[in-house]
C-alpha cells in the first residue's frame, strides 16, 4: 500500500466514523459549554471567589462519577446587577449552552430574565429570593432553598437548640442588609415567625447597606434597644464589621443567630480569630454523612487545605452536577433538550441535606433542608437538626471580653 492509498483509506474510515449512527456517543464526546456567572470582583468578590472553588473541584469529581466533561466559561458580574445581565448576554453570544450562577438574588434575577429570553437554561447555585422561580420561567432552575424555607428551618432549628441548651433570649434585635436577599428575608421574617412559638420578641429591626464602610451607628442602635440576642441577615464584610463593633461597644449578646452568609465563612473565621467563635448560622448546608459529601470534602481539602467546605462550594458544585447529569441524559447541547432533562432530574447521590435533587413545576428544588452550624475554634460544627448534627450547641455565647 503506498502513502496515497493509505491516506485515502484513512479518510474513508474517518468519514464512515463521522457518519455512523452512534449520534449519542458523538454528542457526548463534545463538551457542554457552561457559562458560570459569579461576583468575582466588587463588594461580593470574596464570596464569588469562594463559589468558584466549587467550580474548580467539580471537574475531577464529575469525571470520577462518569459524567461527560463540561467546558467552563467564566463571567464576572462585578457584584453589579447591570453587569450581571450584560455578562449573561455576552456568555450566550460567545456560545454558552447553559448558565450557572450567580450567588446574589438581584444579579440572579437579571440573569434569569436573559436566560428565559434567549432560551438558555440557568441553574441557580445560590440565590434565595422567592420571585425568581415564581415568574413561570421555563429555563430557570434553582437547587437552593428560598428565603421562606431558610426562615422556616431556622426557627425550627432555633427551637431545637433552645430546648437542648435550656437557654433562650427573651428579646432580639433583627439586623439585615437592604439588598434583594436581605429584604426578601425581612419580608418573610414576621410571617414565618408567627407560625412558631418563639421564646423571644423582636424589639427593633435595623436595615443597613451591605457595602457600608462603618456600622458603628447601627450596632449602637441595636445595643440601645436592650435586646438579649442579635438576629442577623448579612453578607461577609458587614458580618466582620458588626462583630468588631460588638467588641468595641462592649456588647455581649446571649447569641448571634444568623440566617444568611457571612458569619460562618472562612474569611470571617480567619479575620476574627477567637472573636469569630460562637455565632450560630441557620443556613443551607451539607449532609456530612452522605457518600458524595465525603468525596467532595476530600477533593476540596486536597485543593484548598486551609479552607472549610461550605454552602458556596456545595451548591455551586451541585449546580454543575445537575448540568452534567442533564447533559448526559439529554445527549445533546440543544438548550430545550437540556431544559427538559433538567426538569426530569432525580439525583439521589448528592451533598445537600434532604432526599436529593429534583425540581417541581416551577423549577425549584422544594425538598431541600437547612442546618444550624456553630463556629467553634475556627471550625464549623453542625448542631441541628439532631439527626444531622456532629456537636452540641453552646448557648450563651462566651462573652467577647473573656476570650
Amino acid at each position: 500500500m503506498d502513502r496515497r492509498t493509505f491516506s485515502r483509506n484513512m479518510a474513508l474510515v474517518g468519514a464512515a466514523t463521522a457518519l455512523s449512527p452512534f449520534g449519542i456517543v458523538r454528542a457526548q464526546a463534545q463538551k457542554l459549554k457552561v457559562g458560570v456567572l459569579l461576583p468575582r470582583s466588587g463588594v461580593q468578590a470574596g464570596i464569588g471567589q469562594d463559589c468558584h472553588r466549587g467550580v474548580e473541584v467539580a471537574a475531577g469529581i464529575l469525571r470520577e462519577l462518569g459524567y461527560p466533561a463540561l467546558e467552563i466559561m467564566s463571567g464576572d458580574t462585578e457584584s453589579n446587577v447591570d453587569v450581571a445581565r450584560a455578562r449573561a448576554e455576552r456568555l450566550i453570544s460567545d456560545g454558552a449552552q447553559l448558565l450557572v450562577g450567580a450567588f446574589d438574588s438581584g444579579q440572579t434575577t437579571a440573569i434569569a430574565q436573559v436566560a428565559e429570553q434567549r432560551g438558555v437554561p440557568l441553574i441557580i447555585n445560590v440565590a434565595a429570593a422567592p420571585p425568581i422561580t415564581e415568574q413561570g420561567y421555563k429555563f430557570v432552575f434553582r437547587n437552593f432553598p428560598t428565603a421562606p424555607v431558610i426562615l422556616r428551618d431556622a426557627f425550627a432549628n432555633q427551637l431545637e437548640i433552645f430546648s437542648m441548651t435550656g437557654q433562650a433570649p427573651k428579646t432580639c434585635v433583627f439586623m439585615h442588609v437592604n439588598d434583594t436577599f436581605g429584604v426578601a428575608m425581612q419580608k418573610g421574617f414576621t410571617g414565618v415567625m408567627s407560625k412558631f412559638t418563639m421564646p423571644y420578641k423582636v424589639v427593633d429591626t435595623i436595615a443597613y447597606d451591605p457595602a457600608a464602610r462603618d456600622l458603628s451607628v447601627e450596632v449602637a442602635k441595636a445595643k440601645a434597644s436592650g435586646a438579649e440576642a442579635l438576629i442577623m441577615v448579612s453578607r461577609l464584610n458587614d458580618a466582620i464589621l458588626i462583630t468588631r463593633e460588638l467588641v468595641k461597644q462592649r456588647w455581649d449578646p446571649l447569641a448571634v443567630l444568623s440566617m444568611g452568609p457571612g458569619w460562618y465563612e472562612d474569611q470571617y473565621l480567619k479575620t476574627l480569630g477567637k472573636l469569630g467563635d460562637g455565632p450560630l448560622s441557620f443556613v443551607p448546608w451539607y449532609d456530612p454523612n452522605k457518600k458524595l459529601t465525603k468525596q467532595l470534602e476530600a477533593a476540596h481539602h486536597k485543593a484548598y487545605p486551609d479552607i472549610n467546605l461550605n454552602t458556596n462550594h456545595v451548591y455551586t458544585f451541585e449546580a454543575l452536577l445537575v448540568a452534567a447529569d442533564a447533559f448526559k441524559r439529554a445527549g445533546s447541547t440543544d438548550p430545550k433538550a437540556l431544559a427538559d432533562a433538567i426538569r426530569a432530574t432525580s439525583i439521589k447521590d448528592n451533598v445537600s441535606p434532604g432526599p436529593g435533587i429534583q425540581f417541581d413545576a416551577k423549577g425549584q428544588n422544594d425538598k431541600l433542608k437547612n442546618s444550624a452550624i456553630q463556629n467553634r475554634g475556627g471550625k464549623l460544627v453542625t448542631v441541628a437538626p439532631k439527626d444531622a448534627a456532629n456537636a452540641k450547641p453552646e448557648v450563651p455565647m462566651r462573652p467577647y471580653s473573656k476570650r
Binding site: 463588594v43 435595623i206 436595615a207 447597606d209 464602610r213 451607628v217 480569630g273 467577647y400
Partner: protein
C-alpha cells in the same frame, strides 16, 4: 483624604478621580509593612505618605501635566483610567478578599459616661489633626508653600515671576497624594481593605470637599466634620440605612444656597 483632594484641585485645578483608589493603594502598603515588619499603621503613616508623595509626583509629571491645558473631560477620562488600572492591579496582586491589620488597640474603646468611643478612631483623628496642622504650616510659613499658593492664585503671574510651575504642580500633586497616603495608613487601623473600596471613598471625598468648598483646606476639614456628624445623627435619629441620604441632602442644600461650598471662594 478630603484635604488631599482639595489641595490638588485648589492648585493644579485637576479633579482627581483616582483619589479613593490611591487611598486603597496606601492601605495595601500599610498592610504590607504590617505583615513584613509588624509596623503599626500609625507609625507606617510616615513611610506610606512618603511613598504616595513619590507616586503622586511622578503621576503628575509623567501623565497629568500633558493634560493640564486640555479640556476637562480629557482629564476626567485620564484619571478614571488611572483609577481602573489601580483597582485591577490591586485585584491581581492582593486578591479580592478583605484584609486587615490587628493592632493592640484594634478592639479597644474609651467609655465616657454613656458614650463608648472607638480607640482606633480617636488615634486616627488625632493623627489627622497633626497632618492637617503640618499642611497648614507648610503652606503658610515656608517659601515653597507660598510659591505653590502663588501658582494657585495666579497661574500667569507665577509664570511671569519665574516660578517652575510644572515642578510646583508635581510637588502639589505629591503633597495631595501624601495626604491620601496618611489617610490610608490611618484608615487601615479602623477598617479592612479590598480593591473595591476606592470608588466609595472617592465619592465621599467629593461630597466633603464640595460641601466645605473645593480648593479650601479649612473647608475640607469643616466638610468632613459636617458630613460625619450628619451621617451619624441621621442614622441614630432616623433610619441607619438611610444615613448617606442625609449627607447627600446636606450637599444638595449647599449646592442650592452656596454653590461654591461653605468656605469656598466664588470664581469670577
Amino acid at each position: 483624604m478630603a484635604l488631599g483632594l482639595s489641595v490638588i484641585f485648589g492648585v493644579v485645578r485637576v479633579v482627581n478621580f483616582a483619589h479613593g483608589e490611591m487611598m486603597a493603594l496606601a492601605m495595601y502598603l500599610t498592610l504590607a509593612l504590617f505583615t513584613a515588619l509588624k509596623l503599626d499603621p500609625l507609625v507606617s503613616l510616615v513611610p506610606v505618605a512618603a511613598a504616595l508623595f513619590v507616586f503622586g509626583y511622578l503621576l503628575q509629571l509623567a501623565l497629568i501635566n500633558p493634560f493640564i491645558n486640555r479640556p476637562e473631560h480629557s482629564q476626567f477620562m485620564l484619571l478614571v483610567a488611572v483609577a481602573l488600572i489601580l483597582v485591577n492591579l490591586q485585584l491581581i496582586v492582593f486578591g479580592p478578599d478583605a484584609q486587615g491589620v490587628r493592632t493592640a488597640y484594634s478592639f479597644d474603646s474609651f467609655q465616657l459616661g454613656p458614650l463608648i468611643v472607638d480607640a482606633a478612631k480617636v488615634y486616627a483623628a488625632a493623627a489627622a489633626l497633626i497632618v492637617a496642622a503640618a499642611l497648614f504650616a507648610f503652606f503658610r510659613f515656608t517659601l515653597l508653600g507660598k510659591a505653590i499658593r502663588a501658582c494657585a492664585d495666579n497661574y500667569q503671574g507665577a509664570l511671569v515671576v519665574g516660578l517652575d510651575v510644572k515642578r510646583l504642580y508635581a510637588l502639589t500633586f505629591g503633597i495631595g497624594a501624601a495626604c491620601v497616603g496618611a489617610a490610608g495608613a490611618m484608615l487601615m487601623a479602623i477598617i479592612d481593605v479590598t480593591p473595591a473600596i476606592g470608588p466609595a471613598y472617592t465619592l465621599l471625598a467629593f461630597v466633603i470637599v464640595i460641601t466645605g468648598g473645593l480648593g479650601s483646606m479649612m473647608g475640607a476639614l469643616l466638610g468632613g466634620l459636617l458630613i460625619g456628624v450628619t451621617e451619624a445623627l441621621g442614622g441614630v435619629l432616623f433610619v441607619p440605612s438611610a444615613k448617606s441620604m442625609f449627607a447627600f441632602g446636606l450637599l444638595v442644600l449647599v449646592l442650592l444656597f452656596r454653590p461654591q461650598g461653605i468656605l469656598g471662594r466664588k470664581h469670577l
